[in-house]
């Protein structure tokens, strides 16, 4: 079974600058988060995958080589851009129909699917009005619809919640989360908002300075390394006493705040131990969960920066920044999931 995206020694140079450096990775999953600082090479990667620029090496989408079969790929892939991408003076229905026709659908088919896509995206009532008069939220929805019209197998979404207020963000994330089940397409979500990725994605690809630093599941990224025995526990009050009680029972504890502690259970113990210790000490447990890295910590760890206050380096278009690091940390060495599927 072909993976969604296969990259093999993918390299792209703009003169002295290396935007993508011998990238090798296999990307698969239902909803994949594409993360990375500005200048990491995400947009260059996308352009290569869509066959919009030449490159060295191999980039295969759905089994098709992007450099030679780019048009076919674009027929089977949908793209929701970050910026505005409309033609003025058209209504949502007209735009989506046009979009469908431009992807090779016959006219009636395109019209039917345009309506279906707009229904899904939640633009029902206003779909016959000109897009120029839409609110930001509705424009984002139309952007999603026009990417869906031609029944794509993969959908690339670029910052889909940009400019949306909290209720609309919720709606959009919900729509995105349901797409694989409702439309049978996989999603690559490019965003800077780590909590969104945590919420919606099952896989992640992290890029930095032209290299893929991580490609795998979110669980692998955040680690539930210790299995179910490493817990974080929250109590109503008096975490220290609970720590003492648990220590007597054989667990290792670390108090992080007056109402929170980290607990490492002994072998073959379950969360029952925590409840028992709390009951015996007369304390109330309010939170239990498997201890995982926060998305931010995991992200920073993968990127390899120490965090804290730090001046950001200049963006990608300086030769020294891209050249030195990209050569020093080849993509394959840090890759978690290279080519094994």
């Amino acid at each position: 079974m072909t993976a969604l995206i296969e990259l093999a020694e993918l390299t792209k140079r703009f003169g002295p600058i290396t935007a993508l450096d011998r990238v090798t990775a296999t990307v698969d999953g239902k909803i994949i988060g594409l993360l990375g600082p500005n200048g990491a090479g995400k947009s260059t990667l996308l352009k290569c995958l869509l066959g919009l620029m030449p490159y060295q090496g191999h980039a295969r989408v759905l089994g098709l080589e992007a450099a030679t079969e780019g048009a076919q790929i674009r027929d089977r892939v949908g793209y929701m851009p970050e910026q505005e991408a409309f033609l003025s003076g058209m209504s949502a229905v007209e735009l989506c129909t046009y979009a469908g026709e431009l992807s090779g659908l016959p006219r009636t088919e395109a019209m039917q699917r345009a309506h279906a896509a707009l229904y899904y995206a939640g633009v029902e009532e206003k779909r016959y009005q000109a897009i120029d008069g839409y609110s930001t939220g509705m424009k984002q929805r139309v952007k999603l619809a026009q990417a869906l019209v031609h029944d794509p197998e993969i959908l690339f979404l670029d910052e889909p919640t940009n400019g949306l207020d909290p209720p609309s963000r919720e709606d959009m994330l919900h729509l995105i989360a349901e797409l694989p089940a409702r439309r049978g397409c996989a999603i690559v979500l490019s965003t800077h908002l780590l909590p969104d990725v945590d919420r919606v994605c099952d896989h992640a690809v992290i890029m930095h300075r032209g290299a893929v630093r991580f490609a795998g599941t979110i669980d692998e990224l955040r680690g539930a390394r210790g299995g179910n025995s490493e817990l974080s526990v929250g109590v109503k009050a008096d975490a220290a006493r609970l720590a003492q009680a648990l220590a007597i029972a054989g667990a290792t504890c670390r108090v992080t705040s007056p109402i929170a502690l980290e607990v490492d259970l002994p072998a073959r113990a379950t969360t029952q131990l925590v409840f028992e210790a709390a009951r015996d000490a007369g304390l109330q447990v309010r939170e239990i969960g498997v201890r995982r890295e926060s998305m931010e910590t995991a992200f920073l760890r993968v990127i390899g920066e120490a965090g804290g206050t730090r001046e950001l380096a200049a963006p990608r278009l300086t030769a020294d920044a891209a050249g030195a690091d990209a050569a020093g940390a080849p993509a394959t060495a840090l890759l978690r999931d290279g080519g094994v599927r």
């Binding site: 200048g39 793209y79 505005e84 409309f86 003025s88 088919e109 699917r113 031609h150 670029d158 049978g184």
Partner: protein
């Protein structure tokens, strides 16, 4: 994905007799994947062309008004041709300088007013076409799909060309038909037949001028209003200067004024010369000017579009 399924209720036992229904159905309006074929990439330009025409057809002021104006002009000219065909026109015809009848002289003259209407249409349709797309982000829309720069350029040219042809080509051809219809007998008709292809040639060149050249400006200047202004300024101001310089310095410079060039070619084809318009450029200069303008303009469009294909998609990070 599941194809449509239906859920049927319990069927009634016993003999089927006509009466109220006792069963029901719920249709699954679930999503059906598209399993048909996709049109080949080579047909995209037709979609773009149709879209361009459809957009121009909306409202009155974009195109329909000018089409009516052109039709009226054609009708009036045809009428004059018919009724006044034997009147003499102060036009010098041929090598010997014989004076022409209206019937023979009005056709080359008509390019003057078709050019005016063509210019107006170029303002409302051609000059904003590419700039509008750049401004609204349409290139991202186009090139994220299986549309090549070639398809876009050809589609735009074909669409706008088709619209302008309705004015710049259809009008003169109709007039040529009227002229042919005025011939006294079959023999004269056959000798007059070249009039048709002459008007065809003039019409095609006129269409090319008002399609391609403003499109080039539209590609050069990325703001719709500015593109419009620059095209109008070039056409009117540079045109005026060119004609003036043509009178003073050398007639070849007047070729920069596109309507003058078209008129020069039309005169050449009909072998006429309007008294008082000695400053028209020589034919070779006119032809080079028209074709040169068009080539540069199409080159600009191709450059802008190729540029946009690479940068438009993918965002800034």
């Amino acid at each position: 994905m599941t194809a449509g399924q239906t859920t049927t209720g319990p069927t009634s036992a016993g003999p089927q007799s006509p009466g109220p229904r006792t069963t029901g159905q719920i249709h699954d309006l679930g999503y059906k994947r598209y399993v048909g074929s996709r049109r080949s990439v080579g047909t995209r330009w037709r979609v773009i062309m149709r879209h361009q025409i459809a957009t121009a057809w909306i409202g009155w002021w974009r195109f329909k008004l000018w089409l009516i104006a052109a039709a009226l002009a054609t009708a009036i000219t045809g009428g004059i041709l018919y009724f006044l065909r034997n009147n003499l026109l102060r036009m010098i015809g041929g090598v010997q300088g014989a004076v022409l009848t209206l019937a023979d002289g009005l056709l080359p003259l008509s390019t003057l007013w078709y050019c005016k209407i063509g210019f107006l249409v170029s303002l409302t349709i051609s000059a904003t076409a590419v700039a509008g797309d750049v401004q609204s982000g349409a290139f991202t829309f186009y090139f994220a799909r299986s549309v090549r720069p070639y398809d876009y350029v050809v589609g735009k040219l074909a669409g706008i060309g088709a619209l302008l042809a309705m004015i710049m080509l259809a009008g003169p051809v109709v007039l040529a038909g009227v002229r042919l219809g005025l011939s006294d007998d079959l023999a004269q008709l056959i000798t007059l037949l070249p009039v048709l292809y002459k008007e065809l040639a003039i019409g095609l060149l006129g269409t090319l001028i008002y399609t391609a050249v403003p499109l080039g400006f539209s590609a050069l200047v990325t703001n719709r209003r500015h593109a419009l202004a620059v095209w109008a300024a070039y056409y009117l101001v540079i045109g005026l200067l060119a004609v003036g310089l043509g009178r003073l310095v050398s007639p070849a410079i007047a070729a920069l004024d596109l309507p003058s060039s078209l008129h020069a070619i039309s005169r050449h084809l009909f072998d006429t010369r309007l008294t008082g318009r000695d400053a028209d450029p020589p034919t070779s200069a006119a032809l080079i000017s028209i074709l040169g303008h068009a080539a540069v303009a199409i080159g600009l469009v191709a450059w802008r579009v190729r540029n946009a294909q690479q940068t438009g998609v993918g965002g800034s990070s």
